[in-house]
């Protein structure tokens, strides 16, 4: 079939079904598809590259080398006056007990020179004193017995066994000397030194040594902040959105508010940190580094996201539902709470979770309010100092010790895991409750 082309400006337009023109149009479409597939492939390749690099660097962070040696809890050292006084337990030299136990496991003579002692100490973590002390304090009846304790190995030993330290380089440039390597090989062959699941990664707070540092403070800090955000941002955000969408008159002021909310969503997050410093710390006098302030700052940051998502979700509910409700005599508020909000619920949840995910990954606003910090004690309330997961990753990434490299990647895996779970929840909620009209 031929179509008569209209004439414009005296030039005949080409016929739409001209075969030559059809060919170029098909070719253009084919090219466009190829560009699309190429862009997608590049994105997927980068994603896989990223995941492969993080996982290959970080999986070993979930394992930790420990020396399972029988430690004699010498009463003469721990409890010399035999009173079982818990406050006295803290003063004992547990490092010495651990070192003696290790030297016995290697089969060294009892009398040792200073260099040997130093080399032995170099195999064990500085945190072992607390490890043994906690055991003794928890159960004083252990004093006098010989118990097998999984003592944390030094970060360098851990790195060596995980292949992060090269054995073949000359001794003077290696973190561990030849004698220590011999001992490590013997202990590994005897099954004394072995890698276990690294429960400490989730149980310890910050530490200056890789082997005894963990994510506990960061996890709890992040949890507290997410709770604060969820408790504050969701009600405020949903109420704002519902009011603006269903009740507010359309005038200059509501337009101004709307423009500002949309602009706030694009404000760099560090600005919210500065605001938090000025308002919550300097003006309201809340304590620095507390996860409550972090939560408040992130709430401010998340609010626009939640408001925008909620408004879109409420607007997506067909007007016929509202009209039907109003038609049978429901008040505006009843319409909102009985019909509009429940129907908008999946959209609200999705927006909220995306806002939370964004907040979970933020470090910049936390810098200003003192949450990029070295916090050892695990916080028990929102008023105590804490850090956040991405902050911990950043702090580890800048540390010099080899063991922190894998921990950085390991913590990234944990953070990605959380983000994945939260995103999956958003998708699930949307699928589960979504209504099609």
């Amino acid at each position: 079939m031929t179509v008569d082309a209209p004439i414009a400006d005296g030039h005949p337009l080409p016929r739409l079904n001209d075969p030559a023109r059809l060919r170029t149009r098909y070719a253009a479409e084919a090219r466009f598809r190829i560009y699309g597939v190429a862009a997608l492939s590049i994105a997927i390749a980068f994603l896989f590259g990223l995941f492969a690099s993080i996982i290959s660097n970080g999986w070993s962070a979930f394992l930790q080398t420990k020396a399972h040696v029988p430690v004699y809890l010498d009463p003469a050292e721990i409890d010399p006056d035999g009173k079982r006084d818990v406050s006295r337990f803290g003063l004992a030299d547990y490092t010495k007990l651990a070192r003696d136990a290790l030297s016995k496991a290697i089969g060294l003579p009892e009398k040792q020179d200073k260099a040997t002692k130093r080399d032995l100490k170099g195999l064990l973590s500085r945190a072992i004193d607390v490890q043994i002390r906690d055991l003794v304090v928890a159960d004083p009846s252990l004093i006098g017995q010989t118990i097998t304790v999984p003592l944390l190995a030094h970060g360098d030993v851990d790195s060596l066994l995980k292949g992060a330290i090269d054995r073949s380089i000359p001794e003077e440039r290696r973190q561990l000397n030849d004698r220590q390597l011999q001992w490590i090989d013997k202990l590994t062959a005897d099954g004394v030194l072995k890698k276990d699941f690294n429960a400490g990664l989730f149980a310890y707070g910050a530490s200056s040594q890789p082997e005894s540092s963990g994510l506990a403070v960061a996890l709890i800090g992040s949890l507290f902040m997410m709770l604060t955000v969820a408790l504050l941002a969701v009600p405020i955000g949903v109420a704002t959105a519902a009011y603006l969408e269903e009740f507010a008159p359309k005038n200059f002021w509501t337009d101004l508010i709307e423009v500002n909310i949309n602009n706030l969503a694009a404000v760099p997050s560090i600005v919210f940190g500065l605001l938090g410093l000025a308002v919550f710390i300097n003006f309201a006098g809340l304590p620095r580094s507390a996860s409550l302030i972090g939560g408040l700052v992130l709430t401010l940051m998340t609010l626009p996201t939640i408001i925008i998502a909620t408004r879109a979700a409420i607007r997506a509910v067909p007007p016929s539902i509202r009209e039907a409700a109003l038609g049978v005599g429901a008040s505006k508020m009843q319409t909102l709470f009985h019909h509009t909000l429940p129907l908008a619920f999946p959209g609200i949840m999705t927006g909220t979770i995306i806002g939370l995910v964004q907040a979970l990954g933020e470090t910049a606003p936390l810098l200003m309010i003192g949450m990029v910090a070295f916090v050892v004690d695990i916080p028990s309330s929102v008023m105590e100092p804490a850090t956040a997961l991405p902050v911990q990753i950043y702090m580890w990434a800048t540390s010099a010790e080899r063991g922190f490299v894998e921990r950085t990647a390991g913590a990234t895996i944990v953070l990605l895991g959380f983000l994945f779970v939260m995103n999956a929840a958003a998708v699930y909620l949307r699928r589960r409750f979504e209504r099609k009209w």
């Binding site: 380089i169 200056s208 009600p235 710390i281 620095r288 990029v372 080899r402």
Partner: protein, 353 residues
């Protein structure tokens, strides 16, 4: 739904009121902020302090840089402000004044040790023997050629010094926001500037009202780094410098001694004026590129913040910053014995600046 929203509101109100109550009570934890160079040392001390004093909470150590730390430090007194500022440089007069204006009049200055700054290449490369002169000729914006200052013509290290390898000049130096940069400029570039006689040429060429102004202008020109890509400012930290060296094994990077000591398997350190950097050579002053590390304490907080006095005493104890202590093990260059003794006495009497 109604009940749910009601519950949320109640929870939010509860959270808010709970916050109000707690903020009124006194802070029971030491707050520290400042230099990222001092951070690892402060972390070790804070951790050990937490173990040794079970009656006190472990101090919170923020990083963020010397200047930011001192700025916070000088905001005033009281529990809203930090107790201790870590710094990789001495406090400036302007900062002391700002402190005084805000009511922080009595400041204890504690110089707890030294940090060496080393030049290192990828471990696979040849050994380097550097002089400040070489680095100046390689990295300065203007160098003297035949008695005249011209923009830096050197392309390879071999052109600078015949004994150095024939590598294109690429140096990763700390960016201008780092305290390390100041030391690098002062001890290395300025030293090299003098050794080559460039300072005299610069003074002769400088414009200024009098000799003092001329000298100042010349000093500034001395430490100007070339901007043609041969010298790369690293605004991140040493891990970034290490990553740059890994991707370009023919580059040279600037590191802190402690960072190098933790990565001896990946880095080869260059000697400076034929002295290899180590805790010993820096402590004796043989290795030229080092700087003191400080922390500053508000005397008015000593009796207010629980454990602050103990923290300062613990930090300055021989057990911590002595030659066999954990800080020296990490890479801190300990104070000479007499200086350490004087410091401990000053801490005992809470001597202020």
């Amino acid at each position: 739904m109604k009940t749910k929203i009601f519950a949320c509101t109640v929870a939010a109100v509860a959270l808010g009121s709970f916050a109000g109550v707690d903020a009124a009570s006194a802070r029971d934890q030491i707050q520290i902020a400042g230099s990222s160079t001092v951070l690892p040392y402060a972390n070790i001390v804070a951790e050990q302090y937490g173990k040794a004093f079970s009656q006190f909470k472990t101090p919170v150590v923020e990083s963020g840089g010397s200047s930011a730390g001192l700025k916070q430090f000088c905001q005033g007194l009281g529990e809203k402000t930090i107790d201790v500022a870590n710094s990789s440089r001495a406090i400036k007069d302007a900062e002391v004044k700002a402190c005084g204006d805000a009511g922080v009049k009595e400041i204890m200055e504690i110089r707890f040790g030294y940090d060496g700054i080393v030049f290192a290449t990828d471990a696979g490369g040849p050994a380097w023997a550097l002089e400040p002169k070489d680095l100046y000729l390689a990295l300065a914006e203007q160098v003297p050629v035949n008695g005249k200052m011209t923009s830096n013509p050197n392309k390879t290290w071999k052109q600078v010094n015949d004994k150095l390898p024939d590598w294109p000049i690429t140096a990763y130096i700390p960016g201008e926001k780092h305290g390390t940069r100041e030391v690098f400029e002062e001890k290395v570039l300025h030293g090299g500037c003098k050794a080559t006689g460039a300072d005299k040429l610069l003074i002769a060429a400088a414009e200024g009202a009098d000799d003092g102004a001329k000298k100042k202008a010349a000093d500034k020109a001395c430490v100007k780094v070339r901007k043609d890509g041969a010298s790369v400012d690293i605004d991140g930290d040493y891990t970034e410098t290490l990553a740059r060296l890994k991707s370009n094994p023919k580059g040279i990077g600037v590191f802190g001694l402690s960072f190098y000591e933790n990565n001896t398997d990946k880095l080869k350190v260059a000697t400076m004026s034929s002295i290899a950097p180590s805790v010993e050579t820096i402590a004796t002053g043989k290795y030229p590129v080092s700087r003191p590390l400080f922390f500053y304490v508000k005397k008015a907080h000593i009796d207010v913040t629980p454990g602050l006095k103990e923290y300062v005493e613990f930090f300055t104890s021989t057990k911590m910053i002595g030659a066999d202590g954990p800080l020296a093990e990490y890479g801190l260059v300990p104070l000479p014995e007499a200086e350490l003794k004087a410091l401990q006495d000053a801490v005992k009497t809470a001597k202020t600046m």
